[in-house]
Every structure is written in C-alpha cells, then in structure tokens.
C-alpha cells in the first residue's frame, strides 16, 4: 500500500504517510520502510518524495539566507545579533565595514549599537558553531526606516509565493518596498504610513490563512478594498 493520506491533507506528528520505496522529504522521517510525519502540516506527494509543509516551525540558519536581526551585544571584534532562531548570529567587524577594521581606532557602537535592526546574509553555519553573518553587500546593513512584521518562518514560502507571485503582487498593490528575511521577519517601507499599514494587514492575513487555497486572489481583493476605503 503506497499512500495513506490525500495530497494537502493536514497530518500530525506520527502519522504514516507512505510505505515502501519512498524518500522522506522535509518534516518527515523514515523508519522500517515507512515514512512518518514529524511535524503538524500538510502532506505533499511529489513522485517518490513525500514531504510535509509545516504549519509552524522555527528558523534554522542556512548558508546564503537573508535574515533580519536585532543587535543585542557589541563585542570586541563585532556584534552578537538575535536572528530569531535557536542560535545567535555573529557579525564580525570585518564583515560589516567596507575597509580593514582597526581595533584601536574604530568604535564599533558608532556603526551598529544594541537595538539596531540589520539585514544580513548567513555566510557560515554548522552544528558546532553559531551562524556567521555578513552585511558586505550593497543592499545589506542597518535598517533605518519602515516597519517590521514577524511571522512564523514556516509561512515565508507562502509570503513569497510560487516564483515570487505573492510578493510581486504585494509590492505592486501596496506600493511598498518589502524585504523578506528567511527567519520570518519582514521589513516594509512605503511612501506613507497608510500604505505600510495595508501591507502589514495583508501579510498577517497570509500568515493566518497560509494553508488555504486561492490566497493570492483573496489578498489582492482585501488590499484593493482597504485602498478604496481610504481613497
């Protein structure tokens, strides 16, 4: 017997998803030829691969990810950054400055201080060390304006949409600049407070209804309705 569930059905940890020659994808595990769910989520069968799209999870760093974090400590050679993950991020001074770091002359808190929000990229992470960050790319660094929304990292793929369909629609309809951190933090900056407010509402709706179908259309409709009300 190959499948035990329908595609996109809600499953709970321990549910048997498939038996036999199948590959255990995200949020599943294999034991004795059977594939089980390890998180609450929606099952997806893709050929030989079985995976679960989690309804809630937490952020596990991965090299190359963009994240939004908050500086929590200024150290001797860099900063400790809360990236809303089980592991704290480390940003070395040489990865934040566009010139060599001179420990005797440079006062690090002049560049970034406790409480500052930054957009950074993960450059190294494994089981033994905390993730290392960099802000040495033109679009990375301190976030100085706009608003931040936090959603569960499990919903980030939904906020982006297939090939960026959702995020493109959001940017167009709300006329805001939206930067999505893989850790669940989203930075929004628009021309007016009102534009930003609508973008925040839209993202909250996406988080709430992430597991339903036809979401892009419903969100578009909601944004247009909100817009017509203020116009």
């Amino acid at each position: 017997m190959p499948f035990f569930c329908e595609n996109r059905q809600i499953v709970t940890p321990g549910d048997v998803l498939a038996e036999g020659d199948y590959l255990a994808g995200d949020n599943t595990f294999k034991d004795d030829e059977r594939v089980y769910a390890s998180r609450l989520g929606l099952v997806e069968y893709k050929g030989k691969k079985v995976q679960v799209v989690a309804l809630n999870n937490f952020y596990i760093p991965s090299v190359g990810d963009l994240v939004i974090g908050k500086v929590v400590e200024v150290d001797l050679h860099g900063w400790t950054v809360d990236i809303y993950s089980p592991y704290k991020g480390n940003l070395r001074a040489s990865e934040a400055l566009n010139r060599p770091f001179r420990p005797q002359r440079d006062e690090l808190s002049e560049f970034l201080d406790v409480g500052d929000l930054i957009l950074a990229q993960i450059i190294a992470f494994d089981r033994t060390r905390d993730p290392s960050l960099t802000t040495r790319e033109p679009e990375l660094g301190k976030i100085t304006y706009g608003q931040i929304v936090r959603v569960s990292p499990a919903k980030i793929p939904r906020v982006i949409g297939r090939k960026g369909s959702m995020i493109d629609m959001l940017k167009k309809e709300t006329r805001c600049n939206i930067t999505v951190g893989q850790n669940g933090l989203i930075s929004i900056s628009g021309r007016s407070r009102e534009d930003e407010r609508i973008a925040v509402l839209a993202i909250q709706k996406i988080e709430e209804e992430a597991h339903t179908s036809g979401l892009t259309d419903r969100v578009t409709e909601m944004i247009r309705k909100e817009r017509s009300e203020i116009a």
């Binding site: 809600i10 709970t12 940890p13 321990g14 549910d15 048997v16 949020n27 595990f29 034991d31 089980y36 390890s38 998180r39 609450l40 989690a54 309804l55 809630n56 999870n57 937490f58 596990i60 089980p86 592991y87 704290k88 089981r127 033994t128 569960s152 499990a154 709430e208 209804e209 597991h211 339903t212 179908s213 036809g214 979401l215 419903r218």
Partner: protein, 248 residues
C-alpha cells in the same frame, strides 16, 4: 480500605457515573498562550492543566548545553489553589519526581539530536487537580510540543488504569486513586507501540497487572485520536471560513 467507602455500585457504575472502562470527558485546546512558542490546555474530568513550550533556544546557564543534542527541561507544578488544602507553591518531592518522569517520557518522542546546544523548556501548570495529573500533563505537553513546531516521532498519549473496590478500571480519579488498591499510569506512542512511561503504585496480581496495562493502552489510543483532532481543529476552522468566503 474502610468498609463504608463504596467506589463501584452493583451495576458496575463508579462515583462519577462512569463505567469501568470509560475515560473521563476530555476538552483539548491548542495554542492558548500568545507569549509561548507553543501551548495547550486540557480538561480531563475535573483536571485543568496548561502546558507551555519555549524554544528551542539558547541554554542558560550555558554549561548545561550539550554539544550533540538539545536538552529538554520540564517543570511540573501544581498551583496553590489546585487542591482542597492549599499547596505550598514551592516544588515538592512529588513534583520534582513527576517533572523527571514526564521529561523522560517526552524525550523519547522528540528529535533532540537535530538541535544541538539548545534547550526546550516545558512548563506544566496544574490549575485544578483530580487524580491522574501526570498522565494529563504528558498528554497536554505533547500537544504543546507539536504546536511549537518541534519535530517528534509521534504524539505521546497517557492514561492510567488501576484497581479500586476490587474492580479493574480505566482513568482513575482522585478518590479512586487514594482509596483504591492500585494505580498504573502509562504513557504511550501508539504508532510505534512504544511505552515511554510506566509506573505502579499499590498491589496487583500478575494477571491483573497485564489486564490493567491492556486497559490503559486502550485508553491511550482513545486519547491519541482526541489529540489529533485538537491539533487539526484550529487550522480546519480557518480553512473552512476562508473557503466559505471564496464560495460567495
């Protein structure tokens, strides 16, 4: 046992009107606390228990962290007003023991090795107690873990069986536990047929013990079904609502 205490009548009905192999009425709710990463609430008969999960997060104090896996820390606590006579809020010998056995039961269900150097903190707060709170605590804690998005092998369901008034029975309440002859709490992962907690208090013959285990495991399977329903309920409600709007 004093002669005047009657826990089961001639028809095999217990003090709270249940049959011998019947569970107490359950109410399970998931995601009840906003500040926790995961939470759940259970009402099992007169028991009322909250569970909250924080983490995985950095371990404090640091030296407790393990390089190859996460640690699970559990605090089972009874509120001073949870029992008839005020209970001191300081952790008692009994609460320290229950924290340990609940932790060990759940440790075997969680993939701790996936998150080295972190801790998962579990708080079980008994608001009202009426016997069988360690089992209800395990049941509600595994829902809170699933709500927090922590990967697990299976949900853990727990239930007690025992003997009171000469009858073997399922899911003992406070009087049956105190006045009865024996109590066997079991926590169980139904999909793997794995017992993760087994204790016994009192005396049973070997045959009675075997029967009590079968009774308790059957209770666990019933609870498991309720747990799954409770986890899905929150999301199914949103889905139906959203798709209703769609249909208009």
């Amino acid at each position: 046992m004093p002669k005047d205490v009657k826990l089961v009548n001639q028809k095999g009905v217990r003090t709270d009107g249940r049959k011998l192999n019947e569970l107490r009425p359950f109410k399970l709710e998931v995601g009840v606390l906003h500040n926790a990463d995961g939470s759940a609430y259970i009402e099992q008969g007169k028991n009322k228990i909250l569970a909250a999960i924080y983490g995985p997060r950095e371990v404090h104090p640091r030296h407790l962290a393990l390089p190859d896996r996460a640690i699970l820390r559990c605090r089972y606590h009874m509120a001073p007003f949870s029992v008839e006579e005020r209970k001191s809020p300081a952790p008692s010998r009994r609460e320290v023991e229950l924290s340990k056995v609940i932790r060990e039961a759940l440790e075997s269900a969680i993939f701790l090795e996936k998150f080295p150097r972190t801790s998962i903190d579990l708080f079980i707060e008994v608001l009202q107690a009426d016997g069988g709170t360690r089992c209800a605590g395990v049941t509600v804690a595994s829902l809170a873990l699933a709500d927090a998005g922590i990967p697990m092998r299976d949900l853990v369901a727990a239930c007690a069986a025992g003997k009171a008034d000469g009858h073997l029975m399922l899911d003992l309440n406070d009087i049956e536990d105190k006045e009865g002859e024996a109590d066997v709490p079991i926590a169980y992962m139904p999909n793997f047929d794995a017992v993760v907690l087994l204790q016994m208090d009192g005396q049973l013959t070997i045959d009675e013990f075997k029967e009590a285990i079968d009774l308790a495991l059957d209770g666990c399977r019933q609870i498991y079904v309720l747990q799954k329903e409770a986890l899905k309920a929150k999301y199914i409600a949103i889905k139906e609502e959203a798709e209703e709007v769609e249909g208009e």
